[in-house]
């Protein structure tokens, strides 16, 4: 308490007005947005969407065979073609699924971010409404 007694009487209220309100309504929302952007970038990097798109139809795990030099060996050509197509198909399916998962995560991130930001900014108002609701309830009872 000695600290409080030594403190000039108007310092804390002044500090609250001068520092707290800009901090609450400007600084913290900025921090929330920055954090959100950080996570968006992190998940974009983890799922490498750009790389997945670039290699969307590349053979899965480089499983591919070479076509025979004599293209008249139709059966052999067909076998190689089937294998290569299958490898590319598998690659396409897995990469598409991964891209979808990445997009879902981004949507979830956005939802969490918007919720946190709204709650933070609107909380003083919500608290006032809540208190008013409680008093209103008292009056009716």
């Amino acid at each position: 308490m000695r600290v409080l007694l030594r403190t000039p009487p108007l310092l804390i209220p002044t500090m609250l007005l001068a520092e707290f309100l800009p901090w609450y309504f400007l600084h913290v929302p900025k921090v929330i947005i920055r954090t959100y952007v950080g996570y968006v970038r992190a998940f974009a990097k983890i799922f490498s969407i750009l790389f997945l798109l670039r290699t969307l139809i590349s053979p899965w795990k480089s499983i591919a065979d070479r076509y025979p030099e004599n293209m008249l060996q139709l059966l052999q050509v067909f076998k190689v073609w089937t294998l290569n197509c299958t490898a590319r198909g598998v690659g396409l399916v897995i990469r598409t699924a991964t891209i979808l998962v990445a997009l879902i995560i981004q949507v979830l991130l956005l939802a969490v971010f918007v919720t946190v930001l709204c709650i933070w900014v609107a909380f003083p108002l919500l608290a006032l409404l809540g208190i008013e609701y409680v008093f209103f309830s008292f009056q009716t009872t």
Binding site: M1, V3, L4, R6, T7, P8, L11, I12, M15, E19, F20, W23, Y24, H27, V28, T35, G38, Y39, R41, A42, K45, I46, F47, S48, L50, F51, L52, R54, T55, S58, W60, K61, S62, I63, G91, I94, R95, T98, F123, A127, G130, I131, Y133, V134, S137, F138, T141
Partner: protein, 811 residues
């Protein structure tokens, strides 16, 4: 700063302290509980749970927001200053918090507060001083009327120089030590610390702070490091055959503890440059054990991965080939490797790291090197081979084409400063792993002792090994701090030599070194005193560190104990007579004999490896005796100039051998005639004059150059033996014979009075010294004993009496 003032209360940090105490003191918590109880009461009374919910949520959120406001804003180190004149506003929140506990703000209370802060306490701990003992030992007058403004202005200047955002406890404690006047100097002297050391500790503490505040595991950047990236590996094929003999260094690359300190940056750049070529992307890393070749490979792998991440390129796999496993487990390693590399080269781009190239090249089960050579041109494969210089030169002597396959990058020892930084970081790892702490002095002991006594490996590796071993030693004795003694224990084990602090016992032994050798070397008291004094200086680490322990030139006629002194010294100093490397310089009398010492430049020459270098590498703690140095060729003497001056020898292949743990003694008969004549002519003259005259005479005769003589720590002069000395020598020799016979055969020998005098009379030679005496004793005594034992039936327990008349008959 003009208009500077100090108002602690007019700072955000102080307001934060006040607000924190207002909101989170015990009375405040009682109020919150009262509100909660009222909420519960009214919600039950009016059957309205919403009332309770609203109360709890509102109060909790408000408290959370205010706490967050205090910590992240009012106490933040980067907070804005209310005014530029108030120096109190430059203090860290921790300092302000501690100062509010002091009755008044004085220089003394500032120091007290600084020591109580987290950073101040860490600074002291790294300095190796307890807070309590610091306050006792550092006799700073805390009531001294020192202007707080002037003090803080200096602290603020230092803060700026150190790149700190606010004045914390570390800055204040450092300031008191750096500018604390006589009290600070006395304290630092008592702690055996220089101001430069305290500055290093300040940097170490700052490094600790960044380490301590490293990003948390949930931070986005850390998340990417932990999870890695998905999809890059899907374009790479399977490499099962190769995987059986390899470890993927890129797997979990980001999870590996990232190091802030990166050494060999230039070499990393060189490797990356070679790897970025379109062809011939093969590198040979050449460096001795411990210089950080493996870490360099990991840093290269990280740099490649970072580049590929930025460019969204498919990943390059970095595979570490376990050569020993391949060679020992595969019946035909070359065939297995060929198949594995064939398949791997179709699977995508990869870099093969061959950790121990010599194992592969020397493999007798097929030509593995030829298989590797086949793939060296492939753009999909880069080969990063690692070898130590000795092995490499042997390999090149067998296969000269090897050098053309790779671009060689030499990895040298890290500098002492770099090693200190690596050790500072490693200390944090040890703390994380074992909770053991260590001080700056311990760190310096690791650096100095490993530098001095562990010559076989390079920096920083050997220092890290010593630190780890010291941590184990500390743990074994149940300590919480790694002490200098733990470091000495670890180094003693590693160097096979006792390097513990000089104990009372050893102190006695060192002091008695001269006495001990004197019992065996007769008539050379002045020479032995000079020798012993030089060695005492060396043991107390007073001598120049970049030279051998001691270098001596023994001058004197033959048979006066020069070589014997070297033998006795090896036994007394290194505790082992085997620690003597004796080179007869007669064998080094032509220019070609330099090869015997440093090896031949031509790797196919059978003398490619230098004899002296190899012997010192095998036995770093030894006494090197260069017998009859005057007979060596001048080219050979030139080789020794480097050793005597710099403490190392660079052989023909560029390999450096450390001679800093050796004692080098060169003996010479040069000037023997001068000594004899001079002493005859100038009986009783001062030794300094005599010595200088002798050296002048030797230089005049061009036996040695002045540069060579000046390289030695001491030129030790051996005088010809006097008759009295000769008698003592003969007694020593006779004692040896008598003792030997008693020990081996149990036969006692008694000498009649006058026998010794008779031997001395016949064996004394001013020119040949003890050598002539030895010959006389062999002729007279040993021959007599042999004859007697053959002629008579001498049994164990019998006594043989030697009379003058017996020896007289024989002669």
């Amino acid at each position: 700063m003009t208009n500077a003032r100090f108002h602690l209360e007019a700072t955000q940090a102080y307001a934060g302290v006040a607000l924190h105490r207002l909101l989170f003191s015990i009375p405040s918590w009682l109020v919150y509980i009262a509100v909660l109880v009222s909420g519960i009461h009214f919600s039950l009374k009016y059957e309205s749970p919403e009332l309770l919910a609203v109360t709890v949520i509102t109060v909790t959120f408000a408290l959370f927001a205010l706490y967050f406001f205090i910590v992240s804003h009012l106490w933040h180190k980067n907070r804005s200053h209310l005014t530029s004149e108030n120096l109190a506003d430059r203090l860290s929140a921790d300092m302000v918090r501690m100062l509010t506990k002091e009755a008044e703000v004085t220089a003394g209370s500032l120091l007290h507060a600084a020591l109580a802060t987290r950073r101040g306490a860490t600074f002291l701990q790294l300095l190796g001083v307890e807070r309590k003992s610091f306050l006792q030992d550092f006799e700073y007058d805390v009531h001294k009327e020192e202007g707080i403004i002037a003090l803080l202005e200096r602290a603020d200047k230092l803060r700026g120089e150190e790149g700190e955002t606010c004045i914390d406890g570390n800055i204040i404690v450092f300031l008191f030590l750096a500018e604390g006047g006589e009290e600070a100097t006395a304290f630092l002297n008592e702690q055996d610390l220089a101001l430069k050391d305290v500055k290093h500790v300040l940097s170490w503490e700052q490094f600790h702070e960044t380490w301590d505040l490293a990003v948390h595991s949930w931070h986005p950047e850390r998340l990417v490091e932990r999870i890695g990236t998905i999809g890059h590996g899907w374009v790479q094929g399977y490499t099962d055959e190769l995987d059986a003999y390899c470890t993927d260094l890129t797997k979990g690359l980001s999870e590996q503890s990232s190091s802030e300190i990166v050494i060999h940056k230039q070499e990393i750049e060189q490797v990356l440059q070679v790897l970025s070529r379109s062809a011939d992307q093969n590198v040979l890393l050449l460096g001795r054990s411990g210089v950080g070749k493996r870490t360099l490979v990991q840093n290269v792998a990280k740099a490649i991965r970072t580049h590929e991440d930025k460019q969204t390129l498919p990943y390059t796999r970095v595979l570490l080939l376990h050569s020993e496993l391949l060679v020992s487990s595969a019946a035909q390693p070359d065939t297995v490797l060929l198949q594995a590399l064939n398949r791997a080269s179709r699977a995508g781009r990869f870099m093969l790291v061959v950790d121990n190239l010599s194992v592969l090249v020397q493999c007798r089960k097929g030509d593995v090197l030829a298989v590797l050579a086949k793939f060296l041109k492939s753009p999909k494969l880069s080969l990063l081979a690692v070898a130590n210089p000795q092995d490499y030169h042997v390999l090149r002597s067998k296969d000269p084409a090897l050098g053309e396959l790779f671009e060689t990058v030499t990895v040298d020892d890290a500098a002492r400063d770099e090693t200190l930084l690596v050790l500072m970081e490693h200390a944090f790892h040890i703390w994380d792993r074992t909770r053991l702490r260590l001080s700056y002095k311990t760190l310096m002991a690791v650096l100095d002792l490993s530098d001095r006594y562990v010559g076989s490996e390079g920096f920083p590796g050997k220092a890290i090994v010593v630190l780890n071993d010291a941590a184990l030693a500390a743990k074994r004795r149940g300590g919480v701090i790694i002490t200098e003694e733990d470091v000495r224990t670890a180094v003693s084990v590693k160097a096979h030599m006792d390097v513990s602090e000089i104990s009372e016992d050893e102190r006695g032994r060192l002091l008695k070194l001269e006495e001990k050798i004197k019992t065996r070397i007769i008539g050379q008291d002045d020479a032995l005193a000079a020798l012993a004094n030089a060695l005492k200086r060396a043991r107390l680490e007073l001598t120049n560190r970049a030279r051998p322990i001691g270098t001596f030139l023994f001058l004197g006629p033959t048979g006066v104990g020069k070589t014997q002194t070297a033998k006795e010294l090896a036994a007394a100093y290194f505790g082992d007579e085997e620690a003597l490397i004796r080179l007869d310089m007669n064998e080094f009398s032509n220019a070609d004999s330099v090869k015997l010492l440093v090896g031949a430049p031509d790797v196919s020459d059978e003398l490619a490896e230098g004899q002296l270098a190899r012997r010192v590498q095998d036995k770093p703690f030894s006494l090197i005796l260069l017998d009859e140095i005057e007979k060596a060729h001048p080219a050979v003497i030139n080789v020794f100039l480097q050793v005597l001056d710099e403490g190392h020898l660079t052989d023909s292949t560029g390999i450096k051998t450390d001679f800093r743990n050796t004692i080098i003694i060169a003996t010479s008969n040069a000037g023997a005639l001068f000594i004899r004549d001079f002493l005859r002519a100038h009986e009783g003259e001062k030794e300094t004059d005599f010595k200088q005259s002798l050296i002048d005479s030797i230089i005049k005769e061009k036996t040695f150059t002045p540069e060579f003589i000046n390289r030695f720590d001491e030129v030790v002069l051996y005088r010809p033996l006097s008759v009295e000395d000769a008698k003592r020598v003969s007694l020593l020799m006779l004692d040896e014979i008598v003792g030997d016979l008693k020990d081996k055969k149990g036969i006692a020998v008694e000498l009649e009075e006058g026998v010794v005098e008779m031997i001395v009379e016949q064996g004394y030679s001013r020119e040949f010294g003890a050598r002539e005496m030895r010959r006389t004793i062999v002729d007279l005594v040993e021959n007599y004993l042999a004859d007697y034992m053959l002629k008579n039936d001498v049994k164990r327990g019998d006594t043989i009496r030697i009379r003058k008349v017996d020896l007289g008959t024989d002669t």
